[in-house]
Protein backbone atom coordinates (compact mmCIF):
# COMPACT_ATOMS: atom_id res chain seq x y z
CA UNK A 1 0.00 0.00 0.00
CA UNK A 2 2.57 2.61 1.01
CA UNK A 3 5.06 1.22 -1.49
CA UNK A 4 2.32 1.31 -4.15
CA UNK A 5 1.59 4.91 -3.17
CA UNK A 6 5.24 5.81 -3.81
CA UNK A 7 5.31 3.74 -7.00
CA UNK A 8 2.20 5.54 -8.28
CA UNK A 9 3.81 8.95 -7.76
CA UNK A 10 7.04 7.68 -9.39
CA UNK A 11 5.10 6.40 -12.38
CA UNK A 12 3.18 9.66 -12.75
CA UNK A 13 6.11 12.02 -12.02
CA UNK A 14 9.39 10.11 -12.53
CA UNK A 15 11.58 13.17 -12.93
CA UNK A 16 9.93 15.34 -10.30
CA UNK A 17 12.19 15.93 -7.27
CA UNK A 18 10.72 13.91 -4.43
CA UNK A 19 13.16 14.83 -1.65
CA UNK A 20 15.67 17.67 -1.63
CA UNK A 21 18.13 17.73 1.27
CA UNK A 22 21.12 20.03 1.73
CA UNK A 23 23.30 17.27 0.22
CA UNK A 24 21.24 15.95 -2.69
CA UNK A 25 18.13 15.96 -4.84
CA UNK A 26 16.31 12.65 -5.29
CA UNK A 27 13.66 12.33 -7.97
CA UNK A 28 10.64 10.07 -7.57
CA UNK A 29 12.19 7.52 -9.97
CA UNK A 30 15.50 7.55 -8.05
CA UNK A 31 13.69 7.28 -4.72
CA UNK A 32 11.76 4.22 -5.89
CA UNK A 33 14.92 2.57 -7.28
CA UNK A 34 16.82 3.21 -4.04
CA UNK A 35 13.93 1.78 -2.01
CA UNK A 36 14.00 -1.35 -4.23
CA UNK A 37 17.78 -1.71 -3.85
CA UNK A 38 17.65 -1.23 -0.09
CA UNK A 39 14.79 -3.72 0.21
CA UNK A 40 17.07 -6.30 -1.47
CA UNK A 41 19.74 -5.46 1.10
CA UNK A 42 17.25 -6.04 3.93
CA UNK A 43 16.18 -9.35 2.37
CA UNK A 44 19.83 -10.42 2.19
CA UNK A 45 19.89 -9.92 5.97
CA UNK A 46 17.02 -12.46 6.16
CA UNK A 47 14.51 -9.78 7.12
CA UNK A 48 10.94 -10.57 6.28
CA UNK A 49 7.33 -9.52 6.83
CA UNK A 50 6.51 -8.85 10.47
CA UNK A 51 10.10 -8.25 11.60
CA UNK A 52 10.41 -5.09 13.71
CA UNK A 53 13.15 -2.65 12.62
CA UNK A 54 14.22 0.46 14.54
CA UNK A 55 14.96 3.43 12.27
CA UNK A 56 17.21 6.15 13.72
CA UNK A 57 17.76 8.68 10.96
CA UNK A 58 17.40 12.43 10.61
CA UNK A 59 15.08 14.05 8.07
CA UNK A 60 16.31 13.27 4.56
CA UNK A 61 16.06 10.76 1.71
CA UNK A 62 17.64 8.01 3.83
CA UNK A 63 14.71 8.14 6.26
CA UNK A 64 12.20 7.82 3.41
CA UNK A 65 14.16 4.94 1.84
CA UNK A 66 14.31 3.02 5.13
CA UNK A 67 10.59 3.44 5.82
CA UNK A 68 9.37 2.60 2.30
CA UNK A 69 11.69 -0.44 2.10
CA UNK A 70 10.15 -1.67 5.37
CA UNK A 71 6.71 -1.08 3.83
CA UNK A 72 7.67 -3.01 0.70
CA UNK A 73 8.79 -6.06 2.69
CA UNK A 74 5.98 -5.85 5.25
CA UNK A 75 8.45 -5.24 8.08
CA UNK A 76 7.48 -3.06 11.06
CA UNK A 77 9.24 0.31 11.19
CA UNK A 78 9.93 1.95 14.56
CA UNK A 79 11.23 5.46 13.89
CA UNK A 80 13.12 6.95 16.84
CA UNK A 81 14.24 10.52 17.49
CA UNK A 82 17.96 10.72 16.53
CA UNK A 83 18.66 12.69 19.73
CA UNK A 84 17.65 9.73 21.89
CA UNK A 85 20.36 8.32 24.17
CA UNK A 86 21.17 5.15 26.09
CA UNK A 87 18.04 4.95 28.28
CA UNK A 88 15.62 5.65 25.45
CA UNK A 89 17.36 3.20 23.08
CA UNK A 90 17.17 0.49 25.72
CA UNK A 91 13.47 1.12 26.36
CA UNK A 92 12.42 1.16 22.71
CA UNK A 93 14.62 -1.72 21.54
CA UNK A 94 13.32 -3.90 24.34
CA UNK A 95 9.71 -2.78 24.01
CA UNK A 96 9.57 -3.33 20.25
CA UNK A 97 11.66 -6.54 20.36
CA UNK A 98 13.56 -5.18 17.33
CA UNK A 99 16.86 -6.89 16.53
CA UNK A 100 17.69 -4.64 13.59
CA UNK A 101 18.58 -0.95 13.57
CA UNK A 102 18.82 1.15 10.40
CA UNK A 103 20.84 4.29 10.97
CA UNK A 104 23.59 6.58 9.65
CA UNK A 105 27.33 6.21 10.12
CA UNK A 106 27.62 8.93 12.79
CA UNK A 107 24.81 7.59 14.96
CA UNK A 108 26.08 4.02 14.46
CA UNK A 109 29.56 5.02 15.63
CA UNK A 110 28.13 6.77 18.68
CA UNK A 111 25.62 4.11 19.77
CA UNK A 112 27.04 0.79 18.46
CA UNK A 113 28.41 -0.19 21.86
CA UNK A 114 25.18 0.78 23.64
CA UNK A 115 22.98 -1.10 21.15
CA UNK A 116 25.07 -4.26 21.43
CA UNK A 117 25.10 -3.98 25.22
CA UNK A 118 21.27 -3.91 25.11
CA UNK A 119 21.05 -6.80 22.64
CA UNK A 120 24.21 -8.50 21.38
CA UNK A 121 22.29 -10.03 18.44
CA UNK A 122 21.12 -6.65 17.15
CA UNK A 123 22.16 -5.94 13.52
CA UNK A 124 23.08 -2.38 12.62
CA UNK A 125 22.48 -1.57 8.96
CA UNK A 126 24.15 1.67 7.99
CA UNK A 127 23.25 4.16 5.27
CA UNK A 128 20.20 3.08 3.25
CA UNK A 129 21.37 5.19 0.29
CA UNK A 130 24.58 3.21 -0.28
CA UNK A 131 23.56 -0.17 -1.70
CA UNK A 132 25.89 -2.43 -3.65
CA UNK A 133 22.98 -4.03 -5.40
CA UNK A 134 21.46 -1.09 -7.26
CA UNK A 135 18.65 -3.04 -8.88
CA UNK A 136 15.75 -4.44 -6.97
CA UNK A 137 12.45 -5.89 -7.96
CA UNK A 138 9.75 -3.31 -8.56
CA UNK A 139 6.86 -5.56 -7.55
CA UNK A 140 4.28 -4.19 -5.18
CA UNK A 141 3.91 -7.21 -2.93
CA UNK A 142 3.31 -4.87 0.00
CA UNK A 143 -0.32 -4.48 -1.12
CA UNK A 144 -0.94 -7.88 0.43
CA UNK A 145 0.46 -6.97 3.83
CA UNK A 146 -2.32 -6.38 6.29
CA UNK A 147 -0.19 -6.78 9.42
CA UNK A 148 1.29 -4.14 11.68
CA UNK A 149 3.56 -1.67 9.90
CA UNK A 150 4.50 1.14 12.25
CA UNK A 151 5.12 1.39 15.98
CA UNK A 152 5.01 4.91 17.32
CA UNK A 153 5.07 5.97 20.93
CA UNK A 154 2.57 8.45 22.27
CA UNK A 155 2.92 10.31 25.53
CA UNK A 156 -0.74 9.88 26.40
CA UNK A 157 -1.63 11.73 29.56
CA UNK A 158 0.16 9.77 32.26
CA UNK A 159 2.51 6.86 32.80
CA UNK A 160 4.77 5.12 30.30
CA UNK A 161 4.59 6.08 26.60
CA UNK A 162 1.94 3.97 24.87
CA UNK A 163 2.90 1.88 21.86
CA UNK A 164 0.70 2.90 18.95
CA UNK A 165 0.40 0.34 16.18
CA UNK A 166 -0.45 1.54 12.67
CA UNK A 167 -1.32 -0.44 9.54
CA UNK A 168 -0.18 0.51 6.05
CA UNK A 169 -3.77 0.82 4.81
CA UNK A 170 -4.63 3.35 7.54
CA UNK A 171 -1.51 5.44 6.87
CA UNK A 172 -2.12 5.44 3.11
CA UNK A 173 -5.73 6.46 3.64
CA UNK A 174 -4.70 9.19 6.07
CA UNK A 175 -2.05 10.53 3.66
CA UNK A 176 -4.63 10.69 0.87
CA UNK A 177 -7.26 12.36 3.09
CA UNK A 178 -4.78 14.90 4.37
CA UNK A 179 -3.35 15.69 0.92
CA UNK A 180 -6.91 16.28 -0.30
CA UNK A 181 -7.77 18.45 2.71
CA UNK A 182 -4.72 20.66 2.06
CA UNK A 183 -5.16 20.49 -1.76
CA UNK A 184 -1.55 19.30 -1.92
CA UNK A 185 -0.32 18.70 -5.47
CA UNK A 186 2.82 18.16 -7.51
CA UNK A 187 3.18 21.96 -7.58
CA UNK A 188 3.72 22.08 -3.83
CA UNK A 189 7.08 22.36 -2.13
CA UNK A 190 6.81 21.24 1.49
CA UNK A 191 9.40 22.13 4.13
CA UNK A 192 10.14 19.21 6.48
CA UNK A 193 11.98 20.66 9.48
CA UNK A 194 9.79 18.99 12.11
CA UNK A 195 11.27 15.52 12.73
CA UNK A 196 9.88 12.84 10.41
CA UNK A 197 10.57 10.29 13.18
CA UNK A 198 7.59 11.84 14.99
CA UNK A 199 4.01 11.24 13.86
CA UNK A 200 3.53 14.91 12.89
CA UNK A 201 6.46 14.99 10.45
CA UNK A 202 5.90 11.38 9.37
CA UNK A 203 2.28 11.86 8.33
CA UNK A 204 2.00 15.55 7.48
CA UNK A 205 5.32 15.93 5.69
CA UNK A 206 6.61 12.61 4.35
CA UNK A 207 3.46 10.60 3.64
CA UNK A 208 1.23 13.49 2.50
CA UNK A 209 3.93 14.88 0.17
CA UNK A 210 4.73 11.49 -1.40
CA UNK A 211 1.02 10.75 -1.86
CA UNK A 212 0.48 14.08 -3.65
CA UNK A 213 3.67 13.92 -5.74
CA UNK A 214 4.88 17.13 -4.05
CA UNK A 215 8.55 17.93 -3.39
CA UNK A 216 9.78 17.62 0.19
CA UNK A 217 12.65 19.91 1.27
CA UNK A 218 14.25 18.35 4.34
CA UNK A 219 16.33 19.97 7.09
CA UNK A 220 17.94 17.81 9.75
CA UNK A 221 17.37 20.35 12.50
CA UNK A 222 15.89 23.76 13.14
CA UNK A 223 18.34 26.43 12.16
CA UNK A 224 16.88 29.93 11.71
CA UNK A 225 18.89 31.02 8.70
CA UNK A 226 18.62 27.69 6.88
CA UNK A 227 14.85 27.74 7.36
CA UNK A 228 14.63 31.31 6.01
CA UNK A 229 16.97 30.57 3.09
CA UNK A 230 14.99 27.44 2.19
CA UNK A 231 11.66 29.29 2.39
CA UNK A 232 12.93 31.96 0.00
CA UNK A 233 15.27 30.11 -2.38
CA UNK A 234 13.18 26.97 -2.75
CA UNK A 235 9.92 28.95 -2.91
CA UNK A 236 8.33 26.73 -0.25
CA UNK A 237 4.52 26.61 -0.42
CA UNK A 238 3.73 24.63 2.76
CA UNK A 239 5.55 25.01 6.09
CA UNK A 240 4.45 22.82 9.04
CA UNK A 241 6.15 23.72 12.32
CA UNK A 242 5.79 23.89 16.09
CA UNK A 243 5.10 27.06 18.12
CA UNK A 244 8.72 27.35 19.31
CA UNK A 245 9.97 27.62 15.71
CA UNK A 246 7.49 30.37 14.84
CA UNK A 247 8.29 32.23 18.06
CA UNK A 248 12.04 32.15 17.38
CA UNK A 249 11.64 33.26 13.74
CA UNK A 250 9.29 36.08 14.73
CA UNK A 251 11.41 37.31 17.63
CA UNK A 252 14.93 37.05 16.16
CA UNK A 253 16.23 40.60 15.64
CA UNK A 254 18.70 39.40 12.99
CA UNK A 255 15.85 38.20 10.75
CA UNK A 256 14.19 41.19 9.12
CA UNK A 257 10.69 41.68 7.79
CA UNK A 258 10.10 39.58 4.69
CA UNK A 259 7.45 38.54 2.20
CA UNK A 260 7.10 34.95 0.97
CA UNK A 261 4.92 35.20 -2.14
CA UNK A 262 4.82 31.42 -2.69
CA UNK A 263 4.09 30.40 0.89
CA UNK A 264 0.38 29.51 0.86
CA UNK A 265 0.14 27.56 4.09
CA UNK A 266 2.00 27.83 7.40
CA UNK A 267 0.68 25.75 10.24
CA UNK A 268 1.56 24.83 13.78
CA UNK A 269 0.96 21.75 15.92
CA UNK A 270 2.46 19.95 18.91
CA UNK A 271 1.49 22.63 21.44
CA UNK A 272 -0.92 25.56 21.58
CA UNK A 273 0.22 28.65 19.66
CA UNK A 274 0.12 31.82 21.74
CA UNK A 275 -1.37 35.07 20.51
CA UNK A 276 1.92 37.03 20.72
CA UNK A 277 3.63 34.55 18.40
CA UNK A 278 0.70 34.53 15.97
CA UNK A 279 0.66 38.33 15.77
CA UNK A 280 4.46 38.82 15.69
CA UNK A 281 4.86 36.24 12.88
CA UNK A 282 2.06 37.75 10.82
CA UNK A 283 3.40 41.31 11.30
CA UNK A 284 6.92 40.29 10.27
CA UNK A 285 6.29 37.75 7.52
CA UNK A 286 2.78 38.72 6.36
CA UNK A 287 1.38 35.22 6.57
CA UNK A 288 -0.82 33.77 9.34
CA UNK A 289 0.32 30.71 11.30
CA UNK A 290 -2.69 28.43 11.22
CA UNK A 291 -3.24 25.71 13.77
CA UNK A 292 -3.37 22.01 13.10
CA UNK A 293 -4.60 19.34 15.49
CA UNK A 294 -4.00 15.64 15.54
CA UNK A 295 -2.53 12.81 17.55
CA UNK A 296 -0.25 9.85 17.03
CA UNK A 297 -3.27 7.56 17.45
CA UNK A 298 -5.55 9.23 14.90
CA UNK A 299 -3.21 11.12 12.58
CA UNK A 300 -4.33 14.56 11.38
CA UNK A 301 -7.74 15.48 12.79
CA UNK A 302 -8.34 19.20 12.15
CA UNK A 303 -6.74 22.24 10.56
CA UNK A 304 -7.83 25.83 10.22
CA UNK A 305 -7.79 26.55 6.49
CA UNK A 306 -10.30 29.37 6.71
CA UNK A 307 -10.27 32.72 8.46
CA UNK A 308 -7.83 33.62 11.23
CA UNK A 309 -9.66 36.91 11.90
CA UNK A 310 -11.02 37.78 15.34
CA UNK A 311 -10.79 34.84 17.74
CA UNK A 312 -10.37 32.32 14.94
CA UNK A 313 -6.57 32.61 15.06
CA UNK A 314 -6.83 30.39 18.18
CA UNK A 315 -8.93 27.70 16.50
CA UNK A 316 -7.48 24.46 15.12
CA UNK A 317 -10.25 24.66 12.54
CA UNK A 318 -12.63 22.07 11.18
CA UNK A 319 -12.05 18.34 11.01
CA UNK A 320 -10.13 16.96 8.04
CA UNK A 321 -11.78 14.78 5.40
CA UNK A 322 -13.47 11.62 6.82
CA UNK A 323 -12.83 12.60 10.44
CA UNK A 324 -15.51 13.73 12.92
CA UNK A 325 -14.77 15.59 16.13
CA UNK A 326 -17.22 15.68 19.01
CA UNK A 327 -17.13 17.35 22.40
CA UNK A 328 -18.39 15.04 25.13
CA UNK A 329 -19.30 16.20 28.63
CA UNK A 330 -18.05 14.31 31.67
CA UNK A 331 -21.52 12.73 32.04
CA UNK A 332 -21.04 11.14 28.60
CA UNK A 333 -23.56 13.41 26.85
CA UNK A 334 -22.67 15.55 23.81
CA UNK A 335 -21.75 19.12 24.80
CA UNK A 336 -23.78 22.07 23.50
CA UNK A 337 -22.21 24.52 21.02
CA UNK A 338 -19.53 26.49 22.84
CA UNK A 339 -19.57 24.20 25.89
CA UNK A 340 -16.20 22.82 27.02
CA UNK A 341 -15.79 19.04 27.28
CA UNK A 342 -13.55 16.15 26.22
CA UNK A 343 -12.31 16.29 22.63
CA UNK A 344 -13.19 12.96 20.99
CA UNK A 345 -12.01 12.00 17.50
CA UNK A 346 -13.93 9.56 15.32
CA UNK A 347 -11.83 8.24 12.46
CA UNK A 348 -11.82 4.94 10.61
CA UNK A 349 -8.02 4.96 10.69
CA UNK A 350 -7.56 5.29 14.48
CA UNK A 351 -4.70 3.12 15.67
CA UNK A 352 -4.66 0.39 18.22
CA UNK A 353 -2.70 0.95 21.40
CA UNK A 354 -0.71 -1.79 23.01
CA UNK A 355 0.35 -2.19 26.56
CA UNK A 356 -1.78 -2.38 29.65
CA UNK A 357 -4.67 0.04 29.26
CA UNK A 358 -5.78 1.86 32.36
CA UNK A 359 -9.35 1.57 33.55
CA UNK A 360 -9.99 5.05 32.22
CA UNK A 361 -8.61 4.08 28.79
CA UNK A 362 -10.96 1.11 28.60
CA UNK A 363 -14.00 3.16 29.54
CA UNK A 364 -13.09 5.91 27.18
CA UNK A 365 -12.65 3.68 24.15
CA UNK A 366 -16.03 2.00 24.55
CA UNK A 367 -18.05 4.22 22.20
CA UNK A 368 -15.64 3.91 19.27
CA UNK A 369 -14.28 7.41 19.61
CA UNK A 370 -10.74 8.27 20.62
CA UNK A 371 -10.60 10.40 23.75
CA UNK A 372 -7.59 12.65 23.21
CA UNK A 373 -7.18 13.79 26.82
CA UNK A 374 -7.68 17.36 25.61
CA UNK A 375 -10.48 19.67 26.58
CA UNK A 376 -12.11 21.88 23.97
CA UNK A 377 -15.22 23.44 22.48
CA UNK A 378 -16.80 23.68 19.04
CA UNK A 379 -18.32 26.91 17.74
CA UNK A 380 -21.48 27.06 15.65
CA UNK A 381 -19.49 26.64 12.42
CA UNK A 382 -17.71 23.52 13.67
CA UNK A 383 -14.38 25.20 14.46
CA UNK A 384 -12.57 23.45 17.29
CA UNK A 385 -10.89 25.41 20.07
CA UNK A 386 -8.60 23.33 22.29
CA UNK A 387 -8.75 24.83 25.77
CA UNK A 388 -6.61 22.54 27.90
CA UNK A 389 -4.93 19.21 28.35
CA UNK A 390 -5.13 16.73 31.20
CA UNK A 391 -1.49 15.74 31.13
CA UNK A 392 1.53 15.67 33.37
CA UNK A 393 3.86 15.57 30.38
CA UNK A 394 6.17 18.49 29.71
CA UNK A 395 6.07 19.87 26.18
CA UNK A 396 9.61 21.01 25.30
CA UNK A 397 9.48 22.63 21.87
CA UNK A 398 6.98 20.01 20.66
CA UNK A 399 8.82 17.08 22.31
CA UNK A 400 6.84 15.44 25.10
CA UNK A 401 8.83 14.63 28.24
CA UNK A 402 7.58 12.17 30.83
CA UNK A 403 8.55 13.57 34.28
CA UNK A 404 8.83 10.11 35.81
CA UNK A 405 11.43 9.07 33.20
CA UNK A 406 13.64 12.01 34.22
CA UNK A 407 12.98 11.39 37.92
CA UNK A 408 14.09 7.77 37.57
CA UNK A 409 17.37 8.83 35.91
CA UNK A 410 18.07 11.37 38.67
CA UNK A 411 17.26 8.82 41.36
CA UNK A 412 19.74 6.32 39.93
CA UNK A 413 22.46 8.69 41.15
CA UNK A 414 23.58 7.31 44.51
CA UNK A 415 23.61 10.78 46.10
CA UNK A 416 19.95 11.54 45.24
CA UNK A 417 17.29 10.37 47.66
CA UNK A 418 14.19 11.98 46.08
CA UNK A 419 13.34 14.05 43.03
CA UNK A 420 10.37 15.73 41.46
CA UNK A 421 10.33 16.87 37.84
CA UNK A 422 7.91 19.49 36.52
CA UNK A 423 7.49 21.77 33.52
CA UNK A 424 8.01 25.48 33.86
CA UNK A 425 7.96 28.35 31.33
CA UNK A 426 10.77 30.46 29.97
CA UNK A 427 10.55 34.11 28.93
CA UNK A 428 9.26 33.04 25.51
CA UNK A 429 6.40 31.04 27.01
CA UNK A 430 8.15 27.77 26.13
CA UNK A 431 8.03 24.92 28.58
CA UNK A 432 11.24 23.40 29.90
CA UNK A 433 12.20 20.77 32.47
CA UNK A 434 12.84 21.70 36.09
CA UNK A 435 13.84 19.27 38.84
CA UNK A 436 13.55 19.55 42.60
CA UNK A 437 16.09 17.28 44.25
CA UNK A 438 16.70 16.07 47.77
CA UNK A 439 20.29 14.82 47.99
CA UNK A 440 23.41 14.48 50.06
CA UNK A 441 25.46 17.61 50.75
CA UNK A 442 28.06 18.57 48.16
CA UNK A 443 26.20 17.41 45.04
CA UNK A 444 25.91 20.26 42.55
CA UNK A 445 23.60 21.15 39.67
CA UNK A 446 26.55 20.63 37.34
CA UNK A 447 27.13 17.10 38.72
CA UNK A 448 23.51 16.07 38.11
CA UNK A 449 23.29 17.54 34.60
CA UNK A 450 26.52 15.75 33.71
CA UNK A 451 25.00 12.54 35.16
CA UNK A 452 21.95 12.83 32.86
CA UNK A 453 24.03 13.59 29.77
CA UNK A 454 24.22 10.63 27.39
CA UNK A 455 21.49 8.76 29.30
CA UNK A 456 18.52 10.74 28.00
CA UNK A 457 18.00 13.19 25.12
CA UNK A 458 19.32 16.69 25.83
CA UNK A 459 15.84 18.25 25.76
CA UNK A 460 14.85 16.04 28.74
CA UNK A 461 17.79 17.09 30.95
CA UNK A 462 16.53 19.53 33.60
CA UNK A 463 17.47 23.09 32.74
CA UNK A 464 17.11 24.11 36.39
CA UNK A 465 17.81 21.89 39.39
CA UNK A 466 16.68 23.20 42.74
CA UNK A 467 17.93 21.59 45.95
CA UNK A 468 15.59 21.23 48.90
CA UNK A 469 15.65 19.46 52.26
CA UNK A 470 12.41 17.66 51.43
CA UNK A 471 9.79 17.50 48.68
CA UNK A 472 6.54 19.37 49.25
CA UNK A 473 3.86 16.89 50.28
CA UNK A 474 0.17 16.98 51.17
CA UNK A 475 -1.07 16.06 54.62
CA UNK A 476 -1.53 12.52 53.31
CA UNK A 477 2.10 12.36 52.17
CA UNK A 478 1.48 12.68 48.41
CA UNK A 479 4.08 14.71 46.51
CA UNK A 480 2.61 18.12 45.65
CA UNK A 481 3.61 18.79 42.07
CA UNK A 482 1.65 22.04 41.87
CA UNK A 483 3.63 23.50 44.79
CA UNK A 484 6.82 23.69 42.71
CA UNK A 485 5.28 24.68 39.38
CA UNK A 486 5.38 28.37 38.60
CA UNK A 487 2.26 29.96 37.17
CA UNK A 488 2.40 30.41 33.37
CA UNK A 489 4.02 33.66 32.24
CA UNK A 490 1.69 36.51 31.24
Amino acid sequence: MLYSMLAASASRLPNQPAIVSLAETTTYRQLLHTVDAFAVRLEEQQLQAGDPIVVILPNGPEFAVAVFACAKLGCIAIPLNPSFQETELEHYLNNSAAETVITGATIAAKHRHTIHAINSRCRIIVDPLKNENTVGSGDSASDHFTGDFLFQYSSGTTGEPKKIVRKQSALAQEASQYAQTLSLSQDDRVLAVVPMSHSYGFGNCLMAAICAGATLYTLENFNRRRVMDTLIEKRITVFPGVPFMFSVLAESPSLGEMHFPDLRLVYSAGAPLDRNTFEAFQDKFHVPVRQHYGSTETGPAAINLESTEGDLWASVGKSVKNVTIKIIRHDGQPAATGEVGDVVIYSATTAETQGIPTEADQQRSADGGFYTGDLGRLDAEGNLFVTGRESLFINVGGNKVNPSEVESILQKHTGVSESLVVGTESAHGQEFVKAIVVCEAGLTEDDLKAWCKGKIADFKIPRIIEFRDKLPRTALGKVQRSAVQEPPAG
Partner: protein
Protein backbone atom coordinates in the same frame (compact mmCIF):
# COMPACT_ATOMS: atom_id res chain seq x y z
CA UNK B 1 32.21 50.11 25.09
CA UNK B 2 31.45 47.82 28.04
CA UNK B 3 34.46 46.29 29.73
CA UNK B 4 34.68 42.50 29.87
CA UNK B 5 33.36 42.24 33.44
CA UNK B 6 30.29 44.25 32.52
CA UNK B 7 29.70 42.07 29.48
CA UNK B 8 29.82 38.98 31.70
CA UNK B 9 27.29 40.39 34.16
CA UNK B 10 25.01 41.52 31.30
CA UNK B 11 25.22 38.01 29.79
CA UNK B 12 24.43 36.41 33.16
CA UNK B 13 21.36 38.66 33.55
CA UNK B 14 20.29 37.95 29.98
CA UNK B 15 20.56 34.18 30.62
CA UNK B 16 18.47 34.58 33.77
CA UNK B 17 15.74 36.50 31.90
CA UNK B 18 15.72 34.29 28.78
CA UNK B 19 16.14 30.85 30.35
CA UNK B 20 15.53 31.37 34.11
CA UNK B 21 18.97 29.87 34.89
CA UNK B 22 20.69 31.80 37.70
CA UNK B 23 24.47 32.12 37.34
CA UNK B 24 26.60 33.72 40.05
CA UNK B 25 29.95 35.41 39.24
CA UNK B 26 31.71 32.38 40.75
CA UNK B 27 30.03 30.20 38.11
CA UNK B 28 30.97 32.25 35.03
CA UNK B 29 33.36 29.57 33.82
CA UNK B 30 31.04 26.65 34.57
CA UNK B 31 29.25 24.63 31.91
CA UNK B 32 25.68 25.96 31.51
CA UNK B 33 24.50 22.68 29.89
CA UNK B 34 22.22 24.60 27.51
CA UNK B 35 20.15 22.50 25.13
CA UNK B 36 19.41 23.66 21.58
CA UNK B 37 16.20 25.44 22.62
CA UNK B 38 17.91 27.36 25.40
CA UNK B 39 20.75 28.29 23.03
CA UNK B 40 18.23 29.85 20.63
CA UNK B 41 16.59 31.75 23.50
CA UNK B 42 19.95 33.15 24.61
CA UNK B 43 20.87 33.93 20.99
CA UNK B 44 17.77 36.12 20.59
CA UNK B 45 18.72 37.94 23.80
CA UNK B 46 22.27 38.55 22.56
CA UNK B 47 21.08 39.85 19.20
CA UNK B 48 18.62 42.17 20.94
CA UNK B 49 21.09 43.48 23.53
CA UNK B 50 24.23 43.78 21.44
CA UNK B 51 22.87 44.28 17.92
CA UNK B 52 25.07 41.46 16.63
CA UNK B 53 24.11 38.74 14.18
CA UNK B 54 24.60 35.15 15.29
CA UNK B 55 24.57 32.54 12.55
CA UNK B 56 24.26 29.27 14.45
CA UNK B 57 24.81 27.24 11.26
CA UNK B 58 28.32 28.63 10.88
CA UNK B 59 29.40 28.53 14.51
CA UNK B 60 30.43 25.95 17.07
CA UNK B 61 27.47 26.85 19.27
CA UNK B 62 28.13 24.18 21.89
CA UNK B 63 31.55 25.71 22.53
CA UNK B 64 30.40 29.34 22.38
CA UNK B 65 27.35 28.80 24.60
CA UNK B 66 29.22 26.62 27.08
CA UNK B 67 29.60 29.25 29.81
CA UNK B 68 29.01 32.93 30.60
CA UNK B 69 32.71 33.55 29.95
CA UNK B 70 32.73 31.85 26.55
CA UNK B 71 29.64 33.84 25.51
CA UNK B 72 31.29 37.08 26.69
CA UNK B 73 34.40 36.20 24.67
CA UNK B 74 32.24 35.59 21.62
CA UNK B 75 30.48 38.96 22.02
CA UNK B 76 33.80 40.77 22.33
CA UNK B 77 35.25 39.18 19.20
CA UNK B 78 32.02 39.44 17.17
CA UNK B 79 31.56 43.12 18.02
CA UNK B 80 35.14 43.80 16.98
CA UNK B 81 34.60 41.91 13.68
CA UNK B 82 31.20 43.42 12.90
CA UNK B 83 32.39 47.00 13.64
CA UNK B 84 35.20 46.73 11.08
Amino acid sequence: MQDFQNIESTVAELIRVQTKIDVTPQQYEQDLHLDSLAILEVTIGLERTYGIEVDEAELDVLQIFRSVRSIANFITSTRADQSR
